[in-house]
């Protein structure tokens, strides 16, 4: 019924004015229900704060729920490209869903702004661009600090899943460049009751620093086990652990931990030299004005950044073609690949033809846990 009304309204507006034809249609697929709803809902809230027009052209946001289900993601994406004639697709926040949308995007030659770091091989991601930072960019920030601290050897304790694996790959590559050696690689699962064995083996190798690759509250248990074993070196955590859950669960044991983070959520604390400071503060203030103090989060930040990107590329593409045409979609992609250095709340973007990850090494920020709070290092 609601769908019928939308179609009716769309048809009426088409009849009413020719200008409506030129509206820019943006299809958004988000997990508003299901396991990843905690990630999708903030993006939806951020999109409610979007302006009504971008680059002087009215925008039409079509937001559909994919329920964290890849099948629904495909259905939504197909509907965007066939029924809605979308000029651009945004979503999803959940990786498996975003992966299936990438296929539809490539098939229909529509630009996809993925809000999840989807691991597609170069060449496969011709129409997909990622809004979150890659692990390699984060590893760079971490290694810069390690080098400064004189760390030579690192013990790796990570999840035995995609996250752990991709960190190991990206971190090893970056570490080799900096002359830092990985002396031990151990794995664990989030639901493990103990990591005693892994920690014993790692501490026996006596690394200068320990890198723990885990997410949210799951990052606390291995950290506590390392401390409990009497390890005196520095302990590093990844950006998936950069949430207050680390301190809530870890308490005193995580004191002094080094955690890499994107700049958006720690806006006020950023050093003045960080390029994202002004924009990140703008994002945080607007979002918290609408949804209450402390409501900021990484995912709403991606929603904010997506709008900044559109503001930049839409005017460029509009010069070449009219919205709703394949030429316009191609022009959007060209504009994306030649976007140049663009500062967003989550860092500094620079997509090129060969790099659809895009963040530059200015992006990552190192935090230290001091008295149960973050301090920029």
């Amino acid at each position: 019924m609601k769908l019928n009304k939308t179609i009716l309204a769309a048809a009426l507006s088409l009849l009413a004015s020719g200008a409506a034809l030129a509206d820019i249609t943006i299809g958004v697929s988000l997990p508003l229900t299901g396991p990843a709803s905690g990630l999708g809902i903030p993006v939806n809230q951020q999109m409610k704060l979007w302006p009504a027009s971008i680059g002087g052209e009215k925008i039409k946001l079509v937001i559909l729920d994919d329920a964290t289900d890849p099948t629904n993601g495909v259905k939504n994406a197909k509907r965007f490209v066939t029924e809605e004639k979308a000029d651009i697709i945004i979503g999803s926040v959940a990786t498996p869903v975003a992966m299936t949308i990438a296929d539809v995007a490539a098939e229909s030659k529509t630009v996809q702004l993925s809000l999840s770091p989807i691991p597609l091989a170069p060449g496969k991601d011709g129409w997909s661009f990622r809004m979150p930072q890659s692990n390699a960019v984060m590893a760079h920030a971490m290694l810069t600090l390690m080098k400064k601290q004189g760390v030579k050897t690192v013990g790796f304790l990570g999840y035995n899943d995609v996250y752990g694996e991709s960190w190991l790959k990206d971190f090893s590559a970056e570490a080799a460049k900096s002359g830092i050696k990985i002396v031990g690689t151990e794995r664990f699962a989030r639901s493990d009751t103990s990591v005693t064995g892994q920690v014993l083996k790692l501490t026996a190798a006596k690394p200068d620093a320990m890198l723990i690759v885990a997410s949210g509250s799951g990052a606390a248990m291995p950290h506590m086990a390392v401390v409990e074993r009497g390890y005196k070196g520095k302990i590093y955590q990844t950006h998936a652990a950069a949430s207050r859950d680390l301190m809530r669960v870890g308490g005193k044991a995580v004191e002094g931990a080094y955690v890499v983070s994107g700049p958006a959520v720690i806006a006020e604390q950023l050093p003045d030299s960080h390029p994202s400071k002004k924009i990140a503060i703008d994002f945080v203030q607007k979002y918290e004005a609408a949804y209450g103090p402390g409501s900021r989060n990484q995912f709403a930040g991606h929603g904010y950044d997506a709008e900044l990107v559109l503001e930049k590329i839409v005017p460029v593409a509009l010069k070449k073609a009219k919205p709703g045409t394949p030429e316009f979609r191609a022009a959007l992609r060209d504009a994306m690949e030649n976007i140049g250095r663009t500062v967003v709340a989550h860092g500094v973007l620079n997509w090129t033809k060969d790099d659809h990850w895009g963040y530059t090494n200015e992006t990552g920020v190192m935090l230290k846990v001091v008295n149960g709070d973050w301090k920029v290092e």
Partner: protein, 346 residues
């Protein structure tokens, strides 16, 4: 690998093994009495730990509402069954109230105590009560009307219950994990080996529970009735043992054991809404080692699983789970080659 590392790993293995032993024993108990392969056994452990964690924050845990909903559902089922039998409103109402009474009291007490920030031990006791009350209700709602179905049907229902409980756990406790405060901060040093108070509590509690279970089955009338039901359901019914109350008692005990093991692991690791499954599964492996029928066998199996896990995590942490669960294959092979079903097998 030197002696000190081996002894630390051994202690770690025995501590985890003690938890698996409890869950394994509960699995054996449920299977012998009701023929249900109870997959969600670990969920009771996660519910126990997380209920305590929420109580610690001074909020009312979602499990309290779930308990009430389940109790109303079970009461309606009991009332309806009674009505069909006797067509008397009074007796139907009485049956329904009887089912509703205990869970309602437990839920009310917990909801009342939640904001008062009681001492840790009182909160732990409340968590155990809440989760234990789940046991009979889960049996009543999911399994009782299927009591005579084949083990395969019961297994499928049990998988369904597992998914329902995990999903509800996500709803009530959220996606992030909790770690409970330790019951004891004490620590004993033996050379390189530091034995924490929590490890001692885990091993001692498991040992005590196992002895209590043994006494219960050997000495008490209820225990003997359960054993009788396990050996021969029809015979036990002819002797006046209600298989329904045997089932409910069994599930209450399984939930109690689950909740206790949840409280025991809560302070040593971060418990998530879905942590219970893997822990329960290792308990299940221990139970399978024992052929789902022998309590001492399950105990040995659990210690074996725990120790293998500890050493596997040292030597090949990436393959730890693979090693633990592959263990079940040679054991099953050995058991099937050995043939010969014992009297208590079904």
């Amino acid at each position: 690998m030197d002696f000190s590392i081996a002894s630390i790993l051994l202690l770690d293995g025995v501590t985890n093994g003690a938890i698996y032993a409890l869950l394994g024993l509960a699995t054996v108990l449920v299977f012998t009495v009701t023929r249900v392969i109870f997959i969600p056994q670990g969920e009771f452990a996660a519910y126990g730990a997380l209920t305590l964690a929420i109580l610690q924050t001074g909020k009312i845990p979602g499990t309290v509402w779930l308990l009430l909903i389940l109790a109303v559902l079970a009461a309606l089922m009991d009332g309806a069954a009674e009505w069909q039998r006797h067509r008397q409103a009074a007796s139907a109402l009485k049956a329904a109230l009887k089912t509703l009474a205990i869970p309602a009291v437990v839920a009310g007490l917990t909801a009342w105590a939640a904001p008062l920030q009681m001492p840790l031990l009182v909160q732990a006791l409340l968590s155990v009560c809440v989760v234990t009350a789940f046991g009979p209700l889960v049996y009543r709602v999911a399994f009782q009307s299927l009591a005579d179905a084949t083990p395969l049907v019961l297994l499928i229902v049990s998988v369904g219950v597992h998914f329902a409980m995990t999903g509800l756990g996500l709803l009530f406790f959220g996606a992030e994990g909790f770690r409970n405060p330790a019951f004891s901060d004490a620590s004993v040093s033996l050379g390189d080996l530091a034995i924490t108070g929590q490890a001692i509590i885990i091993i001692a509690t498991s040992g005590a529970l196992i002895v209590l279970l043994w006494l219960f089955f050997e000495r008490s009338l209820y225990g003997k009735a359960l054993r009788a039901t396990a050996v021969n359901r029809l015979g036990a019914r002819l002797m006046g043992i209600s298989s329904q109350s045997a089932g409910q008692l069994t599930f209450a005990m399984a939930a109690l054991i689950g909740a206790l093991s949840g409280l025991l692991i809560g302070p040593t690791t971060t418990v998530f809404y879905d942590s219970g499954f893997l822990i329960g599964l290792k308990g299940f492996v221990a139970a399978v080692v024992a052929g789902l029928s022998s309590y001492p066998g399950a105990l040995l199996g659990a210690l074996f699983v725990g120790i293998v896990e500890a050493f596997a995590s040292f030597w090949a942490s990436a393959f730890k789970e693979v090693i633990v669960f592959t263990l079940i294959l040679p054991v099953l092979l050995w058991r099937s080659l050995q043939g010969g079903h014992s009297d208590e097998d079904h």
